[in-house]
Amino acid sequence: MSEHKFLPQPYFLINKEFDILEFSDKSADVFDFSTNFLDLTDWESQGKLKNILGNSESRPEGEIIMKTKESPYALFDISVKWNQDECHVICIEKDHRLAELERIVEKHRVRLAETNLELLEKKEQIEKTLNEIRNLSCPFIRLTTRAALVPLFGNLDHELILQNGTRILEMSQDGSYLEILFDFNGVGELTNEGVEAFIALVKELQLMGLAPSIIGIKPAHAIYLNSAASVPDVPFLNSLSKAFKKSVY
């Protein structure tokens, strides 16, 4: 046995059949004993190993997955040098040097995962707030035992009616209301879908025996309401006081 025995790294001397002829003490520490070098290598690294060992064109070094006492898939850097029919192989374990890189990559991964969640959470929060705003945008106010006021705030779009229509219908049945006054003073923009949905709501109220009317229409609103597919058959009054007078008498 030669000095190779005392090399501070796993070392092997092998022949063309990859039979192990000599090895260092360190090799015996790291690997379970085997007579053939291929057996120490992960099955999906064997092709690569054969290339590094057998192909004079290829670089005489590279990364290989090896089976150690500690792990069935440890990453090694191997360097090889042929001398006639015998090959000297040094195997240096790499995992500890990769640990730092792995830590950084893992941090990135977690951050990426969190970023998405954060975005998603923000979006959900915003949607929730928007819903709350919409609920507040259509309060149902009792004026007298027979009349209620529903001031609309913000844009009259499909969502506004979708979200508040049922509540308005329900509340209008809860008591002895006859008249529901929709106040448009606080309305900004209108959309066609919003107007259609609003008209549908008005018709439903009428079906239930109530008399809806609309106050505070601005010229910009009127265009939408008049061009709607089915203009509601309701009085348009320009002020609350007029509406109120009408409803009281």
């Binding site: 690569k48 990364e63 898939y73 990769l98 991964r109 970023t115 975005l119």
Partner: protein
């Protein structure tokens, strides 16, 4: 295949912008998720594996490429969800890699496919020990639990995972996937209820045959 090789180069450079540009072009020109996941991203990663086997790159390079690929998946999903009109439903699926398994890109793709079909998903990423998996499942009660593994030695985890998860009181459906499932038979690790999928195509077919998996035009 050309696109995949081109992408592999960008991933190895960590060039997020150019890589995203390539994916986005595919997306805009009408490629569906299946095509993008299977034929572009997976093929690019497999090509990276080939470059390692032929001694052109190192595992360190693979780390960088993985990180970039992960970013692409998230970015793609974000865009996809924004424009998609598939209605969500309340069916729940949970995704994880078995203990010690770090290769999570494949199961991330699977989880995104489920989400694109309107499922509620929870993605637990790599290396989730069985005790954690059981705890998470018990709290959330998913109808489906998908497991992935890529390293042959990790196949031995399958039996306990499948057995103990299938025994949970709400009887979840266990689905197994990963690169080795295509090559070998792992049925003996499961029960007659366990499903093994060899590709995302099979996942997609399965999803489309689910009562709620049908595409609709109503957004929620």
């Amino acid at each position: 295949m050309e696109k995949a090789i081109e992408l592999a180069q960008l991933l190895l450079q960590g060039n997020q912008d150019a890589a995203w540009h390539l994916i986005d072009e595919e997306r805009v020109s009408g490629s569906d998720s299946l095509h993008i996941y299977e034929n572009i991203l997976t093929k690019a990663m497999t090509h990276i594996g080939y470059l390692w086997e032929t001694n052109k790159i190192t595992v360190a390079d693979e780390h960088l490429a993985t990180s970039t690929c992960d970013f692409l998946l998230a970015q793609y999903f974000w865009h996809k969800k924004r424009e998609d009109r598939t209605s969500n439903h309340n069916r729940k699926a949970m995704f994880l890699c078995v203990e010690d398994e770090q290769h999570y890109l494949g199961i991330k793709m699977a989880s995104q496919l489920f989400a694109e079909h309107g499922w509620q998903t929870r993605f637990h990423g790599p290396n989730l020990p069985l005790d954690y998996a059981k705890k998470a499942a018990n709290e959330w009660k998913p109808e489906v639990i998908c497991l992935s593994f890529s390293i042959l030695y990790h196949a031995e985890h399958l039996s306990p995972y499948i057995k103990e998860l299938e025994e949970l009181p709400f009887r979840p459906q266990i689905i197994i996937g990963g690169r080795l499932v295509t090559r070998y038979e792992f049925r003996r690790y499961g029960s007659d209820r366990t499903v093994f999928f060899r590709s995302l195509n099979e996942v997609n077919d399965w999803l489309e045959h689910q009562p709620n998996g049908v595409r609709s035009n109503v957004g929620t």
